[in-house]
Symmetry: none
Subunit: 184 residues, 4 copies
């Protein structure tokens, strides 16, 4: 996960993975059929966690606004715990050979979008969010905002060193992204 996060799919060598894991070169091939399967596996694992959180939010209590806010807060918290995982999740969605175009990673991404979009849709129906919201666009907006903000935190462009700074990031994100969906 760390190596993929650092160098991307093509840039990461099996040798790097083995070294990082502290095992012999060949052992990687004992556990994974090939490089694709390795990445799929890593991505799937990360996405599973994230999707589970999205689903938990979606199926949990509270208004749509609160569910979306929870997702934002969760994402930022995950970033704090495992920034590398966030990078894999965020960065390997697209630039992977088969991942985005077809295959499980894309499906999982679409699933994430659709869960968020559903929250928006329900919220709009219930009057918790503006009636004319575009669920899918709202979802990609939210996820994209999370992605780049977190990436910028990883890169040190957005400050997220202290507890207080992280709280400020969370609040700003929620205010803008969820607040922007509030009924007029």
């Amino acid at each position: 996960m760390r190596v993929f996060a650092e160098k991307g799919y093509h840039g990461c060598r099996i040798a790097d993975v083995a070294r990082q894991a502290g095992v012999a070169y060949g052992l990687v091939y004992h556990y994974f059929r090939n490089k694709d399967e390795l990445l799929e596996s890593v991505c799937a694992e990360q996405w599973t966690i994230f999707i589970r959180a999205l689903r938990a939010a979606s199926e949990g209590p509270g208004a749509a606004t609160e569910q979306l806010a929870g997702i934002c807060r969760f994402a930022v918290d995950v970033f704090r715990t495992a920034p590398a995982a966030v990078r894999v999740l965020l960065l390997e969605v697209v630039p992977t050979p088969n991942a985005f175009r077809a295959g499980s990673t894309r499906q999982t991404f679409e699933e994430a979008v659709s869960i968020v979009a559903d929250i928006v849709r329900r919220g709009a129906a219930r009057g918790e969010l503006r009636a004319d919201a575009e669920p899918t666009v709202a979802a990609t907006t939210l996820l994209g905002a999370l992605e780049l903000t977190l990436t910028s935190m990883v890169a040190g462009i957005v400050r997220g060193g202290t507890e207080e700074e992280i709280e400020r990031v969370k609040r700003a994100l929620v205010d803008q992204v969820v607040g922007g969906l509030a009924p007029r």
Copy 2:
């Protein structure tokens, strides 16, 4: 640009670039020292265009809300005209060997963030945007929302085939991302 957009940095062969450009293999090396420099150059070119547009918006007339909305609309329009350019700009920033970590691409990204952040800062000062906005987070939120939404359009997850659909995306983006910054 097209080839990088299509396959990503590592996935794209010099041979592809040459073929796409309709020139001989070796000629690429007449103009670029190596693959890195080639991408760097392509990215720089795209960023320049985008930065110019950001600056034009920033220095143009209108309230901060209108400037930010203009940026969103411009980005979506660029996407319609040159989706490949958008992909390079958006997707190749990070997973590239030296691009994001250090060097000109990162600087240019920071510049983009800072231009948008400045608009937000001024808007907040003038009362056009909420006073407690976090300029940098607002900027990465806006740019990230653009990125993933456009990417999703490229990938066909967000519908953007017709004129009307594109208008809807624009409106939704602006409503959420700029609307979310409105004073309470």
Copy 3:
């Protein structure tokens, strides 16, 4: 070693080395970082043998004249056993990118010069060689004479096919190069 000797540094392809060694192309890169390191390694190995012989002569018994004569005889004998090694040793020292200018090969060459020069210096002090001998020049003269004479044997310009011819070359070399250092 054989391939370098045959074609020189630039003329020898890694593929040649692999074929000659009877291994797969890539394996060469398993053992050597790159072509430079390969040659460096080959040279170092050869020099080590030669330096060892020089040292043995220097530390062995006999007058300086006898030590120098021993070196000449040894060099000619090595040539008979392994002409390719001699060629690498002799010919690839200089025209190689980094070898002679700086780095270990040059150091080793200087060491060879200095061992021979020391023998000369001691011999001069003991009255076995002329008192006004220039040790360093004497050393490069001896080594250079060996080099070109052996090269010419390799090239067939100096006859060295039979046992008797080789003996004649040895004697002539020693007479001229060592004899030329005798006290007047």
Copy 4:
């Protein structure tokens, strides 16, 4: 000449030659059919000068000892004037693809050897040099001693900075290499 001297045949690029000469890339091909011809031409020029000097010595006045001494002194003097030319002369004899094995450079080298060998042969016949001298070996010994000593001067291993140091090198060379051929 300088570029060939610096990098050897394969290591020298046409671009280097053009840059060193201060002319455009293509112009090199206006004057030389190809790289081989360029090197041949350079070598031939250098050898011609050297061969002419050897011949002049051979056909000039004085005993064989004096003729050989003159050659040594001339070579050292040439080195002082044009060290690069010496390197081409010395270093490109062998490691060139076709040069030494067959072709004009090898012929010229053999000619040089034979001129010197003739001087030795005559000197031996006249009693100026030892009767049992091996003319060819004596020639390669003399030329080899010159080669490596001059190379070592170029490389800074043998000191040749001042007028006095150069005189000392000349004397040492002559004493050893010519002195070693003196009748016993």
